[in-house]
Structures are given as structure tokens and as C-alpha cells.
């Protein structure tokens, strides 16, 4: 994986996506695009490495430490490689009242992982998360940050895992 290299080269596709984000902000405020750029890196690489942070910092004209502050402050950035599918299950109180915690435990038990862990085949990382802002959909979870799945009864969780496995 290219992000293991000490230097990380941004592809043309990534630069084009970065540019679309940078264009939203005043010319002297490129830093505003850092959250979007890091999430693009994560979508493509699965995580944000120190080398990728450095590349983003150069691109946006920020100090590398300022990028690292963002990566470490916001919960959704992965600071290490995870499974191919990150499953983030909300267990906050409104979800807990509607079996959010059981959904988390069911996934952990089906995939033989501890909360926060990755399955032996490297396919799934299961973690609990704070409020997704979808409390009426509980049990509710995210697949790789960008797709939300709702009303996840045990049967639907099993079907989801099956589909992800087949698509892997």
C-alpha cells in the first residue's frame, strides 16, 4: 500500500477531488478543506497515515502538526489500517433503548471480534460509535463512514455481513 511509504504521492484523481473542496473557500483559506481532503484519503486508502497527512499539509499549505491535530481530534478518521469494512454501531442512549448495544454484541459474536477489533480474515472492524443523528432508525450503523444502514435487527445484520463478504 502506497501509504506505507515515507513519501505519499497524491494521484491526479485525488488532486482533482481536493481542488473541488478547496474551491469552496476563500483563496487564503485553503486549510478549510482539510477535513474533506483527509476523508477523501481515508476513502481511497482505508486510513490516514502520517505520510498522507504530510502530503495533505503540503497541498494545503499547513503545518503537518495542524493536520495531525485534525486527524486525531475527529472520531471518524482511522489512524491505523482497519478491516476492509469498518462497521460503526451507535450505542448512545436513544439507540441503547432500541437494541443498539445488542446489535453491536451480535456483530462481535458473529465475527468473533472484540469491540474495536478486526476479524481474522481482515474483512471487518467492528466498533461502537457515538450519536449518528439517526436515532429513530435504531439499531443503526455506518459502513465505511459513508453509508448508513438502518433498522438492523440480527437477521438484517447477518444479511449485511453476507453481502459485504460476497462483495469483498
Amino acid at each position: 500500500m502506497s501509504s506505507d511509504n515515507p513519501t505519499y504521492t497524491l494521484s491526479e484523481v485525488m488532486r482533482a477531488r481536493f481542488d473541488r473542496e478547496v474551491a469552496k473557500y476563500p483563496a487564503d483559506q485553503r486549510q478549510s478543506a482539510v477535513m474533506a481532503c483527509l476523508s477523501i484519503v481515508q476513502q481511497e486508502e482505508g486510513w490516514v497515515s502520517a505520510a498522507a497527512e504530510k502530503a495533505v499539509s503540503t497541498y494545503l499549505g499547513m503545518a503537518p502538526i495542524a493536520v495531525a491535530e485534525v486527524t486525531t481530534f475527529y472520531n471518524m478518521y482511522n489512524q491505523k489500517p482497519l478491516g476492509k469494512f469498518k462497521l460503526s454501531v451507535c450505542t448512545n442512549l436513544p439507540c441503547q433503548l432500541r437494541s443498539g448495544q445488542q446489535a453491536l454484541e451480535h456483530l462481535c459474536s458473529q465475527l468473533c471480534v472484540q469491540e474495536g477489533g478486526t476479524s481474522a480474515d481482515g474483512l471487518f472492524t467492528v466498533q461502537k460509535t457515538e450519536c449518528l443523528g439517526a436515532c429513530a432508525d435504531a439499531p443503526v450503523m455506518l459502513v465505511n463512514d459513508r453509508q448508513m444502514v438502518s433498522f438492523m435487527s440480527n437477521d438484517r445484520l447477518d444479511a449485511l455481513v453476507d453481502q459485504l463478504r460476497k462483495g469483498a
Binding site: M35, S39, L93, P94, C131, M148, V149
Partner: protein
């Protein structure tokens, strides 16, 4: 470089809005009116009267147009209050903006909807995004602002993408950009996403985050109206607040006020969640009785009503006997000792252990404290650890006073309201359900048989 990660089609697992929004159990809806999930686009929005308010103020409907002062006066008359949590009068907030300020000013929409229990803005942005765009454009005109941002919760990425698609439509049709509908008014609007930080719902943390930094709140004053985004005058409103504006302009502030009650104009979207048979969003007139709202959500599930957190997890819990007689508006809920907040109504039945419920909330606040202020950073961890030991049967009777004391030493002593939000649930739980905490300490177990 490896190829971009393929997005699988997970549509059969995704919410389509039937349960939460298109259930037909709203009362006099304005924002959610006539929505079905497939009519979010510009042409559908226009077919149901969309962008008529913008035409009206710009005089592009054959009329005289409205001056910015007249727009603000109408919003003041409507008694619209901020739907994000604080309930501040919107027209008054708009009048604070230094309209004649000679440099750039900004308009920001707070769609960082992460207050536990709340999911109303998600359905607005997903199924009626143009209402927010039109409301923001009207606000921009009223305050002489030319650039805006909508900061959207990173956890609802598909909603962010939907909003971006709606922005494209509005730009292409001339409702956004330079010289809107050929007028002298220009407004450019962009979407920005968060990536998992509850604190960014606090308006100054949100501004820091928009600037590409850690979301740590700023000391106030100066308020955003004088020193906001990039240090420039900025007005920030919640998604639902902006979405209410087109209706007000089309029908008049007086009509909006009359839908609700005195000092509490219009409709409000409540997210009714937890122990109810049909959780979802319900748009109802301000002042609707709680009992009616509960009925819309299918009634209590799995037992009888025990307690309700009426305004998102930061609001003090109220026991059933108080809730049963309450109406859902800012003033009535405040009088009962809680707050309307974001409009998230978390319902709990009589099988729920209040110690365990508080434990989950206390964990959340210590997890999401930004770490900037010592009373919050240290105090939220202290609260969580004490509730945890009570829950585990290792509590001491003096812990109850200590919990109140720690809460007292957080509340009012921090830069932002997260400290208060962590302290208030603790105090209210101990106030109303002290016997359950005492039982846990004395018997090392719950009063109720089992928790979920």
C-alpha cells in the same frame, strides 16, 4: 495507488424515510409537507411553491419586493426561535448583523445534528433540501451576506451528497450565485462536512472546524455577529430554522405565529425516540400536548411511561407525571424544569434503570469533551467513573452528594455549554430518581428486573 474503494449497493438496508418522515402523522406540517422521498429535487420543490418566497422578496413575482428590513421585521413578528437548542429569537439574531459592514460577512447553517435523540435535520436535508437553500438565501439577502456554508454532520454522508446535488440544481437555475434571478443580490452557498465530533454542534467550535482546525469552542464575547468565520461577522442558524423561513415569507409572520402560540411561533419537528412503538419525526404546531405527540409515535412500547428527556440528551429528565400534563413549546417545558432543546424526545418505559441510562450519557459527555476547560475535561470523567461504580454496585452513599458537587463545579464554569450539558442530566436524574441510585448503592443491583 490502489483503486478507490468500491461502494457496494446497500440500498436494501437503508432507510427510505417511510418510518420517520412520510408516515402521514404530522399536524399542519410546513417543512415536511407533501414529501414522499422522490420529490426532493428543484422542479418538485417549485411545483409545491418553492422559491416563491425568494421571488417575492426580490420583486420577481410581479410585486414590489421586500426590503431587507421588512424581511427581518416579518421574521421577528413570526416569533420563530432557533431550532438548534437555544431557542433564541431568529429575527433578533438577524438584526444583530452589522448590515453595512464594508468587508465580507458569512452565513452558516448548523446541520451538525448529533444531539442524542435528534434526527430531524437529516430528513429535511435529504427530502427537502431546497427549503434550506431558499431559507438561507432569504437570510443572506436580509443581512447583506454573499457567502454561506452549510456544515453537515459527517455521519450522514449521503445527506451531504444530496445537499451538494441540490446546490448544483439551484446554481444552474439561477437561485444561487451572482445576480440571483437577474437581481442585484448575489449569494454563493457551499456544503462542508464534519467527521465525528459532537462538540462541533456548538457554534464557535463549528466555526473553528470550518476553518480547518480542531473543534474547540471560542470564548464569547466576541460573538460570531462581530467575530465569526475567518474573524468576520457571521450569523449561524440551525437547519430547521432556515427551512421555516420560506413559509413565513410566503404566508406572513402573523400567520406563522398563529400556527403556534404566543412567543412560540410556527411548527416544530420533534424526533420521538426510545421506548415508543413508531419512532420518527413529527412536525406539529408549537404547544401541542405531549400526550398527542406520544400518540403520533404509537404510544409507549414495552411498559408504561416512566420518564422523558424532552429536548435531547442534554436536557434534564422529567418524570412521567410531569410530562403527561405538559405542552410541547419552549416556555412550557422550561417552566416544568427542562428545555425544549433540539426537539428530541427520548421516551423511557418503567423497565429502564435510570442509573444505567445516566451511565451511557455520562460516558458520551466525557468522550466528547474537547478537553479545553479543566472543569469539563476532568469533571465529565469524574461523573462517568462515579456513575459507573454505582452501576457496578461499588458506590457509596456520599457519592450522590459528590456527584451533585462535581456537577455544580462544572456548570457555568466552562467556555461552552457542553459542561452544562454533562452536568444537567446528572442533577436531574438524582433529583427525580434518587431512590434508584440509593437502591443501587444499598443493594448493589437495579430496582427494575432487567435492562433491555
Amino acid at each position: 495507488m490502489i483503486a478507490m474503494r468500491q461502494m457496494l449497493d446497500l440500498s436494501r438496508f437503508q432507510a427510505k424515510g417511510r418510518e420517520t418522515c412520510f408516515h402521514g402523522r404530522h399536524i399542519q406540517p410546513q417543512i415536511y409537507s407533501e414529501l414522499n422521498g422522490s420529490n426532493w429535487s428543484l422542479k418538485d420543490y417549485q411545483a409545491r411553491g418553492g422559491y416563491a418566497a425568494l421571488r417575492k422578496i426580490l420583486g420577481r413575482d410581479g410585486g414590489q419586493g421586500m426590503t431587507p428590513e421588512a424581511v427581518i421585521a416579518d421574521v421577528k413578528l413570526s416569533s420563530l426561535r432557533g431550532r438548534g437548542g437555544a431557542g433564541f429569537p431568529t429575527g433578533l439574531k438577524w438584526s444583530f448583523m452589522p448590515r453595512q459592514f464594508p468587508a465580507q460577512k458569512y452565513l452558516v447553517c448548523n446541520s451538525d445534528e448529533g444531539e442524542p435523540g435528534t434526527c430531524k435535520d437529516r430528513d429535511i436535508l435529504m427530502y427537502n433540501p431546497h427549503a434550506v437553500i431558499e431559507g438561507m438565501t432569504i437570510a443572506a439577502y436580509a443581512m447583506g451576506i454573499t457567502v454561506g456554508y452549510n456544515y453537515i454532520h459527517g455521519e450522514i454522508f449521503e445527506v451531504y451528497e444530496r445537499f451538494e446535488a441540490a446546490l448544483q440544481e439551484a446554481r444552474a437555475a439561477g437561485f444561487l450565485g451572482a445576480h440571483i434571478m437577474g437581481s442585484d443580490t448575489s449569494f454563493e452557498l457551499h456544503a462542508h462536512h464534519g467527521f465525528g465530533a459532537y462538540i462541533c454542534g456548538e457554534e464557535t467550535a463549528l466555526l473553528e472546524s470550518l476553518e480547518g482546525k480542531k473543534g474547540q469552542p471560542r470564548f464569547k464575547p466576541p460573538f460570531p455577529a462581530s467575530f465569526g468565520l475567518y474573524g468576520k461577522p457571521t450569523t449561524i442558524n440551525n437547519t430547521e430554522t432556515f427551512a421555516a423561513v420560506p413559509w413565513i415569507i410566503r404566508n406572513g409572520g402573523q400567520a406563522y405565529l398563529e400556527v403556534g402560540k404566543h412567543n412560540n411561533g410556527g411548527t416544530k419537528i420533534f424526533s420521538v425516540v426510545g421506548d415508543v412503538n413508531a419512532p420518527g419525526n413529527f412536525e406539529v404546531p408549537m404547544g401541542t400536548p405531549f400526550s398527542k405527540l406520544l400518540e403520533l409515535a404509537g404510544g409507549v412500547k414495552g411498559g408504561v411511561l416512566k420518564a422523558v428527556i424532552p429536548g435531547g440528551s442534554s436536557a434534564p429528565v422529567l418524570p412521567a407525571h410531569i410530562m403527561r400534563d405538559i405542552t410541547m413549546d419552549y416556555d412550557a417545558i422550561a417552566k416544568a424544569g427542562s428545555m425544549l432543546g433540539s426537539g428530541a424526545v427520548i421516551v423511557m418505559n418503567d423497565t429502564r434503570c435510570m442509573v444505567k441510562s445516566l451511565l451511557r450519557l455520562s460516558y458520551f459527555y466525557q468522550h466528547e469533551s474537547c478537553g479545553q476547560c479543566t472543569p469539563c475535561r476532568e469533571g465529565t470523567g469524574w461523573l462517568w467513573r462515579m456513575v459507573d461504580r454505582i452501576e457496578k454496585g461499588q458506590g457509596r452513599m456520599e457519592d450522590l452528594e459528590l456527584l451533585n458537587s462535581v456537577a455544580d463545579n462544572i456548570q457555568g464554569r466552562t467556555i461552552c455549554a457542553l459542561g452544562d450539558a454533562a452536568a444537567m442530566p446528572v442533577r436531574a436524574m438524582i433529583k427525580h430518581f434518587r431512590n434508584e441510585f440509593v437502591h443501587h448503592i444499598e443493594h448493589k443491583t437495579c430496582m427494575v428486573p432487567a435492562y433491555v
